[in-house]
Symmetry: C2
Subunit: 199 residues, 2 copies
């Protein structure tokens, strides 16, 4: 398909598609002439992913480039690609060791691997909660982890088949289901409080 | 205590405390002289809350003002104050009706009240997921809701006693435990994927 069709099929403007091509977020099409190139279904899928991360998640273009680079890294297996792509979704300060995350993961009998970016994220989140007086107690941590694991197991069982799609889907599911869970949690709080008032 | 002690006890600079006083985020102290005022433990607690929302959650000052106004609204009961304060934590476009959230809450046998801001949030999150091809299916929704409810029940059981503190604590717990849950979910995904690879 032509650039105009590519743009239309992902609901993105033509100048925006050209911008993504210039920035290297989208791979070039196959040249047909000096002014014309051919784009594929893979371009459409990639363009939709970029639009989702930019417009829905609100991610800056430089961060999107990091996520895409991790997805496209053919040297790494899908497990490593997933870790890096998900890691690029958030900023957490990196360090050699993450004592709060280490203690938490040990208490949960989970592997502590400081190279995985979600470890830095967990450490930062635990530290932030502690710093304002709402530290996550071991009891709370264990209860949260049990329920989160049950939800995560469902997610893994329901990953679509396929290779590249797999990592793309996991990135989107991570980024887009987190706000659903957060909103649900707030509504459950309200519901339970209403019940406890006898309402 | 004096302004300098107030600042030190919440680890905030003196110019920042003066800025919060000017913006009305902090109530004025009791005047002792033309240049001196007396501040209380309530000022310290409020200043810590402002610092948490600003530095840890990264909330702009105008949003913090909305959260504090909801907390301080003496006309409303603590249930309504909590709803408004939590609502002010996020931006979601408001509408008269939220069809996706309505359908979801009906499926979960939960009350649908469009006036509660987390309903707008849930609707926006469901729409965003749908728009990029990772729609939340009814099966997924029910499973998520069951586990989120169990975590929310723990939260409600463990609210500290007290009145104003109650709402302040719930605001902080909502804002600061969400990133912990998100990081845990990413780590559980990784853990389960590692297991399924036989690692």
């Amino acid at each position: 398909m032509r650039l105009s069709q590519l743009a239309a099929s992902a609901s993105v403007s033509i100048p925006t598609v050209k911008y993504y091509l210039r920035e290297g977020l989208l791979p070039p099409g196959v040249r047909k002439s000096a002014t014309d190139a051919e784009y594929s279904e893979e371009h459409v899928r990639r363009l939709r992913l970029i639009r989702a991360l930019r417009e829905v998640v609100g991610m800056p273009v430089e961060k999107i480039a990091q996520v895409l680079a991790a997805i496209d890294d053919t040297e790494a297996d899908s497990y490593a690609r997933l870790g890096r792509a998900i890691g690029a979704l958030s900023d957490a300060p990196t360090a050699d060791d993450y004592p709060r995350a280490r203690a938490a993961l040990e208490a949960l009998n989970m592997v502590y691997d400081p190279a995985f970016p979600a470890v830095a994220q967990l450490d930062a989140a635990l530290q932030a909660a502690e710093s304002v007086g709402v530290a996550v107690t071991p009891t709370r941590l264990k209860l949260y982890a049990r329920h989160v694991r049950a939800m995560a197991a469902f997610d893994i069982q329901h990953l679509p088949a396929g290779s590249l799609d797999d990592v793309e889907y996991a990135v989107l599911g991570t980024a887009l289901h987190e706000p659903v869970l957060a909103a649900l949690r707030r509504l459950e709080h309200q519901d339970l409080l209403a019940e406890s008032r006898g309402g």
